[in-house]
Structures are given as C-alpha cells and as structure tokens.
C-alpha cells in the first residue's frame, strides 16, 4: 500500500455523501407502511434481479436503481429478493479517475491494493442501503455480494437481511476463481446457516455453485432455497456454460436455486448472465428445470415466480441415496 490508497479511502468516504444518504434513509423510515407479513410455508414468491454494474458517477444513481428493483419486486408480490454478485463495486466509479489504470483489464493485479483500501467504505454503504430497503419494503433480502476486509483478509461475501432489516446470514465465497486469488481475496472458511428467518434459505456466491458439494451441504443444513448471486465474466453468453452452475446443482440436490445476476462492464470486465429461478426438473411443467428466467443475458430485469415449497419438501423427503452402498462416501474427501 502506498500513500495514495489511504487518501483515496478518505476521498471515497466523502464521495459517498453520507449526509445525503441519511436524509434519504430517514425519509424511507417515516414512509414505512408495510409490516413484514407472517409467511405461509406452503409457497414463497421470490424475485431475482438482473442488475447492470457499470460504474456510477454518483452513489444516489446506484441507490435509486436498487430502490427501483425493490419497488418492482414488491409490486409483483415478492417475499424474497435476490441481487447479483459484486453489486457494490459500481460505487467505486465515484473514484474511477483517481484509481490508476482501473479502466484497463490487464491491470487487474495492480487493482488489488486499491480494492483492499476501498472495500470497506463501499461495503458499509451497500450494507446499510440494503438494510434500510429490506426493512422499508418488508422483503427478505439476499443483498448480492460485496468485498469486505476483515482482519487484513479480503472476502467476497453475501448477506441476507430479514424483512425487518436484521442480518440473518453472512456468507463469504468459499470457492474462489483464479482471478480472485490474483486480486488477493481469501476464501470463506465454512458454509454458514442462517440464524433466524421464516424461510429455509441459504446463500452462497457464484463459483460455489460450480461444486455439487455446496448444494449437498445446504440441503443437509435444511435449506429449501439456495440463493446464488452471480457475475460471470463471459463476454459472450453461452447457455451450456451457464447451465453448469445453479441449474445443474438443483437437478442433483432437491432445492430451489434463486440466481441474481450482475451484467455490464465492470472496470473492463464484460459480465453476462441471466437472473433465474431453477427447480428440479420434476417440479417444472416442461421438465426443463427452469421456473423463470430473464429474457436476455444483458441489461436489467426483475423476474418473479412462486415456488411450491410443499412439493419441494416432498421431493426432499423422497430423495435418498437409493441402493448405493455408501461406505466409500466416508473416504471421499479424506485424501
């Protein structure tokens, strides 16, 4: 770290315009009319958000678009909303001209110390904004993911807020991509259950869904719903590559997958991906395993669908390891 980075942190805190943010949050609190409803456990209506993460020049612009997504979800009757990965990073756009080489994709490694220095102010802004909005709209919120520096380690972590704005789960990404290793990120140490919430909901982050083990663990923790914020750095969207993630995992493990996607251009990295709700094929009418999916892998959209939890629970009860002798499973991860 050189002298420029602490200075940039200081400048960023000013650029985030907290005084203006507090006015906005106070206004929302006084407006709050909806109380969080008592859920019917037979079904749940979920919204997944496809959100453009192009850097913004003012935090209010980003916040207004997030608020708009909440408003749309509420209008569609959502009880759960899921955002995409790295959704807080566009806020660094307020400093973009001050970070050297940030517009150049080849200089990602040089971005590492800057991300370390700037992660926490952006994280706090994202966290508090999502908290206020979750409470205002009374929706259980999987707030996407953001970078967080804890004890000198940098994590890419997702947070779930309940409909009263309380944090009920914090989940750092467990399986990092090589790019994230280069940026100095550390992997999460465990899959955390939520502390208290009406929904059996677990969140994991993006590449965690490449591994069937993640969903097996979530199911073992009692989850019916697994929320996966994603940001795929694929310049050209490929359906097959997209199907390797959450869609494939919910075919193997009987849970519902709620995918919030980030799209757009983030500091020279082109992101494509579809926000979607996936179910085991047996629970969809056309056996496709897709309950709802956005129309395009680019741009913004809010997708809402109702998941039949009773049928999902029944499928989980029927799910078993059949006649397989399972003794070798005990040695599976021992070496």
């Amino acid at each position: 770290m050189n002298w420029q980075q602490p200075l940039a942190t200081y400048v960023l805190r000013n650029q985030l315009q907290w005084r203006e943010w507090h006015k906005w949050a106070r206004a929302l609190q006084t407006e709050r009319e909806t109380l969080s409803p008592i859920p019917d456990m037979g079904s749940v209506t979920a919204s997944v958000v496809q959100f453009t993460v192009d850097p913004v020049t003012s935090p209010a612009l980003w916040r207004d678009r997030v608020t708009q997504a909440f408003r749309q979800a509420k209008a569609q009757g959502a009880q759960i909303i899921v955002f995409g990965e790295d959704i807080a990073l566009p806020l660094l756009g307020v400093l973009a001209d001050r970070i050297p080489g940030s517009a150049n994709q080849n200089s990602l490694a040089s971005l590492a110390p800057w991300l370390r220095a700037l992660a926490n102010p952006v994280y706090v802004y994202w966290h508090r904004t999502m908290q206020v909005l979750a409470k205002h709209f009374a929706i259980t919120t999987v707030a996407g993911s953001a970078l967080k520096k804890t004890h000198s380690q940098l994590f890419n972590q997702s947070v779930i807020f309940d409909a009263n704005g309380w944090v009920i789960a914090v989940q750092p990404k467990m399986h990092l991509l090589p790019l994230e290793h280069d940026l100095g990120l550390s992997p999460g140490a465990d899959l955390n259950p939520q502390s208290f919430a009406p929904w059996p909901l677990v969140t994991v982050v993006c590449n965690d869904a490449t591994y069937f083990e993640t969903f097996r663990m979530a199911w073992h923790l009692g989850a019916l719903l697994v929320a996966v914020p994603i940001a795929d750095s694929e310049p050209l969207y490929s359906e097959a590559k997209a199907r390797r993630g959450t869609w494939a995992r919910v075919q193997e493990t009987p849970v519902a997958g709620l995918v919030g996607a980030s799209t757009g251009n983030l500091f020279g990295i082109k992101l494509t991906g579809k926000a979607a709700i996936y179910l085991p094929a047996a629970l969809t009418k056309d056996d496709s395993g897709i309950l709802a999916e956005s129309n395009s892998p680019e741009g913004e959209e809010v997708i809402t669908a109702t998941i039949d939890l009773a049928r999902l629970r029944k499928l989980q009860q029927e799910f078993a390891y059949q006649d397989l002798t399972a003794h070798w499973l005990n040695t599976l991860y021992s070496h």
Binding site: P187, A189, T210, R243, E252, D323, H327, W328, S334
Partner: protein, 199 residues
Amino acid sequence: MAEFWFYDHRITAYPDSIPDHSLTWHYYPSSRQESEHPGHWVQQWPDQRLTVSAPLVPFDDDEVNEMAIQFLWDHQRVAILKQAHWIPELVRYLRFQDVRMIVAPFLDNHQQFGPLWRDAQQNQVMAIAMFPLQLLVPCETTNDATGYRSAELVSPGVWRVKWLWSELSEAESKFAILPHLRRDIYQKHAWWPREHLRL
C-alpha cells in the same frame, strides 16, 4: 489421439499410441427394445458379456468396484459405470483416483445437459454416453462451448468419435475446478448416510 468406434451394440476403442493392441468392448443386450430402457439392463448385467482385450489392466482393489470397473488404457484410467443409479459423488470419487474417462452404458443421455454431461463438466473428464451416442467433454474443449461432441457415421452402423487427452489439461488450465475443492468444509458437513460407516 484415441478413437472410439461404436457399432450397434458394441464399443470398439483404438488407441493410436498402442497400434498393435486395439481394444474391443462387447456388450450385447438381448433385444433392441431394451436399449430404450437402460434402467432395465441393471438387472441383467452379465459381466462375462463385457469382453475386454489387452492392454486393459483392471483395478480389483477399488472400493467402488460394485459400481464401476476401472481400466488402464492408453496410459489413462477409464471407468465403466455398471449401473443406472447415479449420484455426482460417484464420478467425483473416480476423478480423485485419476480416472479421465467415464463410459456409461446404462445412463439415459436423452436429457439435454443430463447427469453425465454435468459430471463431465464438474470433474473435467471425458464421458461416453450411449443413448444417444455422444462424447461429452468440458465446454472449454468444444468450439461451440456446448460440451457435446457427436459421433460421426463412418459406415452404416459404425460410428466414430475422436479426442486428445491433452484437451483435458487445456480445459483445466482455462477453468480450474478441482484445485479449489474445500475438502475441509465438506468433511465437516458430511451429508451422506452414516449407517454404512466402516469401523
């Protein structure tokens, strides 16, 4: 370069690196109708009908031998899944033992992005599916990124598909999956049934 030749009910594989020892796997279902119900075959699996010629070396001490037969072929481990019951843990286990190709005569491959395709993706192995005949490979190794390589019809009833083993390491270098496994976390959560625990 290795090649697989598919006859109607027979798989013949020719590794180019061992030209004198071509390998033939024969599997004869009793009737054509059964081929449409691969699950039904499980009951009728007769080991003696699977004919394997040299230079295959079976690994007898394997713990999953009840479910898969492993061979060393063309300097690579190849596993034949013996039944239609499928869980992702099985191919993961085989991959940990350096298996680079799965042959699954009984798994239904009609579903797009079905179980065998998913195994090929998440374990970065080659997989031969029978119904329909296809080679399933990591998406990174196909031009259209679908992970499907169709068999080519060379003469009536004879199909051929080709690959290079080096394609697998190329896929691994483009998208590293296995180095980032979190065995520590998986062991802690141990989701599999415990009643079979061996002391």
